[in-house]
Amino acid sequence: MKSMRLSNRPNSAGSTQSGRMQRIVSQATARLSSDTMHSDHSEYHDNGHNGLVRFRLQSPMTSIAISPEKEAVAVAGRDVLKILAVNSSQVREILNLRAGSHLSTNYNSNDVKWGNNATKSKLATAATNGAIILWDINRTTGRRAERVINEHSRAVNRVCFQPDNGNILLSASQDGTMKCWDLRDPKLASRYRFEGKSESVRDVQFNPVHQHEFAAAFEMGTIQKWDMRNPKALYERKFSAHNGPCLTVDWHPSGRFVASGGRDKTIKVWDMTTDSRRPMYTIRTMAAVSRIQWRPGYEHEITSCALSTDNRIHIWDIRRPHIAKYAFDVHDQTPTGFEWSNSDILYSCGKDKTFVRQEIHHAYQPVNVLRRNGMGWNIQGDLAFTVDRSDRESFVDENLVPAKSATTITTTLSSQSKKWKKSNIKQSTEEDIVQYIPPQSCGIAHLPMFDFEAFSLFAEHYDILSNDVLTCCEKNSDVAFKLGRYRTAQTWKIIALLFQPGDTEDDEEEEEDEGIEETKENDKQQQAKQLSILLQQEDGSSESIYTSSEGNDDDDDAGDDDDDDDDDDDSQHSTDDSETESSVVYSEDMSHLWSTWQHQGVVDELMDYYTEEGDVQMCVTLYLVLRHHIQVNSNRLEDWFSAYIDLLHRFKLWTTATAVINACPIARIRERNENATTINIACNNCFKLVMGTTQGAWACDKCHRLLNPCSICHQTVRGLYVWCQGCNHGGHLEHMREWFDNEDKCPTGCGHSCTLPSLVNSELPSSNNYTNAMTTI
């Protein structure tokens, strides 16, 4: 008796309270009355030119059902239950079942379904208070609500008629049970009761082929397959399908596969006949999936709508899971229910109070919005790219679909008549099906535009700091030569010659080593000419520059020009070429002056050349080597430096970058080193970063130990810290001094003899191998 009272109580309490609540004020009733009064004025029709029709109702809807003859649609919501007649140009309200109903708004609808065959004029709605209501739309007088079934203690989430026998009704309820009624006997209680042994049932659906089977979706994320003929036993099959609640299931028209959707934003397709516990297909969507339906006539396509945040209805092809094939974007808020009238016409309703009739050509194809080809660089200058090689005609290219999965649904369908041979089942169970192979090809191109290795080697080995131009150039030239950059090496050599108080003999020898025929002219001018020619040459292998006959012709012409120029210069400054040739008499200062004057133009040209080439490394290095001899526009210099430093940072050559920043004469660049430099202290015990205050840190946050405590008094040392370089133990200067007055071993007991025996007795800290260090902690 007691338990009876317990179970009865909730309903009565709920209904009395709810009765009171709605007795007083209910916006719903107010709405409802106005709705019936003005329904013709308030609703607006968006008479699409091509079949897109919107129909606005007074309140949000939750569900939609199409009549068996497809001439009418039932929409249901919190306080709406209407029959609409829909054609390609307009939507007309036929019947408002709420009007004149004795049922209060508490009986609002979670779901609506239209009966079939014997019950084709009947509707079933599932109410949030646990009732299932049967409506007879043919009744013209009296109550249209034919029967109210109150057998569930909690809200009913879904109802479902058996596909060919409209007298069998199945329900899924929040109370964890599914119940089945035979409607032929209006008095009879539920014929079967199915206990899922799980939490609330969110969805239930009959198998369209084997009508005694049904699938159910549970709040725990499982889906179960049941056989009605065996109601005593447990479920036949159970899949833990989703992480979080599973909200919807739908049988494939073949009666073999079930698609499920859940809050974890996935749609999964299951083969109900196999023992495999993995889904055949998984589609990841953008939002929690609240309803799904296979698109009639297209065996690979699933339609889905979201629980929240996404206002679109998507059509997916299971063979191409990463992008929707079509998307309808007609609702302003989340759509809550939809149903295909035929394979091209979709009716949907949503929280935005709108009912929409749409056709497939109203949907857009997300694939067409996306770019099919793409490319990207990495820092080494490699280029990765994808190229689409699919024909753009079909959404899924049959040739590219992986052989296994292509056969899965299709072959199983063909073999279905043979009662699913064992071999076929085996085939699809064990192996993971590769769902989709993208039709794009991708590749990586190594473009020889930037030699990363040479760059970093140069960056590391170039001498930029030395004050002696000659040695710098020599060294850099060597580096370049070893790397096989003969032209760069040559450039450095020439620079060395230019800025060297020339010794001709050496130069000539060098030139001969290079195997270059020289006309006996002034060395340096020749060098300069060569250089300028070298600059004029666009590219080509470094060797060919000197050997090509054209180059020689140019050489002569240019040489003549240069001769003239140089002669002028020389005469003005009373420095003769012949003099320079033989004289080593010039003082260094003089030679600097001279060379500065002499070669500024050439170096500028050189710099221009490298700037054109985009070789900031060379520009910066050249400038740094010659920084005392040439002038460069500071804006230009800043550009070079910042570009070069950026490059160095990108390749993680921090040391070189710092050196370059330090060497830079421009204050704004030098600031970089001062701004972004932090020195972190690591704990000497656990090696974690110590997050101290600005004054420093006393202890490690991680291991809660003091940092560098005194070995004697175990206090933190402020001021002078003294430690032995042999064993790394130390402490206060005073304590250490006292200790080592008497002892010669380390105070921590590590066994190290910190004092040098011979010097024990002589004057302390300076005499032993202690090293004093100032640490301001």
Binding site: Q17, V25, T128, A155, N157, M220, N243, S290
Partner: protein, 427 residues
């Protein structure tokens, strides 16, 4: 095995059981292997410990019993040390498992769980023999380190292996519920919500009441939260989506923070407080805005100011703020008079507007429960209606709990009588 511990603990258990016999509190047992995260769960969910601090928890060596008193849920959580075997003869398993409402078994998903599964099987079958009404809940815990695919695979594997083991022992009628949880997100709260909802007998009534409230007030989603633990003890029947749940439970944190501040500051200081509270939706800026509160939220200046944020206005009609003027005060006062209970406690309500046009509305049902609703901004225009409906809801909830209180008392008396009869007959 050290036999000293069990004896000590044994005496403790009998002590505590003497205390609790006759009390109506359903008991939740937390079990699992060592280091599977039982104490962490307990501290995080019931002790408000930040998840990162659980690293420092010591291993539990004896049964820790915690009474959740300040919470609506009159539960006892027993945290069992993982290294002890409670089906040993030294324990009175009848005493331990006789009055248990739910047995939560925690499995470390990041570890090899074969041992844990054997232990789980053993625990479940033994406990089932003692008490067939226990609901068995399996937390596949610490899944924060796993990828989505791996999570579901793990669950499937655990479920499969347990199912096979139970089937082999011909105990497949024992039902286990599995949850994937982590203390670093809301999954542990959701799992506990579901576990505790199973133990609440009033759940269908509460759910129905919430359904009715939602329908009549245009509310999208309503949760009845336990203030202390952030567990929702009931919600309306529409599916729980994670975002709204996270928003609502974060709102509780925000409100509690403010409430704590209020205890120390006078109400008027709130006007000057501009606390920044982080929420999943970005940042919430807190301000107190009486005028707008009273004139029904025409326009929303906050939206313009906080692009990404949401504005939070918090209103407390404590008795201390008698010098505060504004007509909203009278509104609240009159509402309070209608409920007829002359309570001196503060009845908090608060309102957060989100920049997507939704409104989060919180009302205190009683000292331990709050109702949090998520609704569209358009529907919030009928503020008075919602408040009125809420009052009805509140009365209904109070009535429901009064009723079950009475029923419990009756049951207890009945039990006492039965017990006395048994004793007398045995004598």
């Amino acid at each position: 095995m050290n036999y000293d511990y069990p004896h000590i603990n044994d005496s403790e258990i009998t002590d505590t059981l003497e205390d609790t016999t006759g009390s109506d509190k359903p008991r939740i047992l937390l079990m699992g292997l060592q280091r599977s995260g039982k104490s962490s769960i307990q501290r995080v969910v019931f002790g408000k410990m930040p998840p990162n601090d659980t690293l420092y928890l010591e291993s539990t060596t004896k049964i820790q019993k915690e009474d959740i008193t300040r919470s609506f849920i009159d539960f006892q959580i027993w945290d069992f040390p993982g290294q002890l075997n409670f089906f040993d003869v030294t324990y009175d398993s009848q005493e331990i498992f006789g009055a248990v409402g739910a047995l939560i078994f925690v499995i470390d998903a990041q570890d090899d769980y074969s041992d844990a599964l054997h232990r789980l099987f053993f625990t479940v079958t033994s406990a089932y023999r003692v008490n067939q009404n226990i609901s068995f809940e399996v937390l596949i815990h610490k899944v924060d380190g796993l990828s989505d695919d791996y999570k579901i695979d793990t669950q499937r594997d655990v479920q499969q292996r347990m199912g096979d083991m139970l089937a082999d022992a011909q105990m497949e009628h024992i039902h286990l519920s599995y949850y994937l949880t982590s203390i670093y997100d809301h999954s542990i709260y959701e799992a506990f919500s579901k576990i505790i909802q199973k133990l609440i007998r009033e759940l269908p009534t509460l759910e129905n009441l919430l359904n009715v409230l939602c329908q009549n007030s245009g509310i999208d989603k309503a949760y009845l939260f336990d203030t202390l633990t952030k567990i929702y003890i009931a919600t309306d029947s529409s599916p729980v989506d994670m975002q709204s749940y996270e928003l609502c439970s974060d709102m509780i944190d925000v409100i509690i923070d403010i409430e704590l501040k209020l205890i120390f500051h006078l109400f008027r200081f709130l006007k000057k407080i501009s606390a920044q509270v982080s929420s999943p939706n970005g940042r919430l800026s807190l301000s107190d805005d009486e005028e707008e509160y009273s004139n029904g939220n025409g326009g929303d200046p906050h939206h313009a100011v906080n692009g990404n944020g949401a504005s939070l206005r918090d209103h407390y009609d404590t008795d201390r703020d008698e010098d505060e003027d504004g007509d909203n005060q009278s509104q609240e006062q009159s509402l309070r008079r209608t409920d007829g209970v002359g309570q001196n406690e503060a009845e908090a309500s608060s309102l957060i507007k989100l920049d997507n046009g939704d409104v989060l509305y919180m009302r205190e049902v009683n000292r331990l429960l709050v109702l949090i609703c998520l609704l569209r901004h358009d529907n919030f225009e009928k503020h008075g209606l919602i408040d009125y409906n809420f009052q009805c809801f509140k009365e209904a909830v109070t009535e429901v709990f009064d009723f079950s209180q009475k029923r419990n008392n009756q049951q207890q008396q009945q039990q006492m009588v039965n017990l006395a009869q048994q004793q007398s007959s045995s004598e």
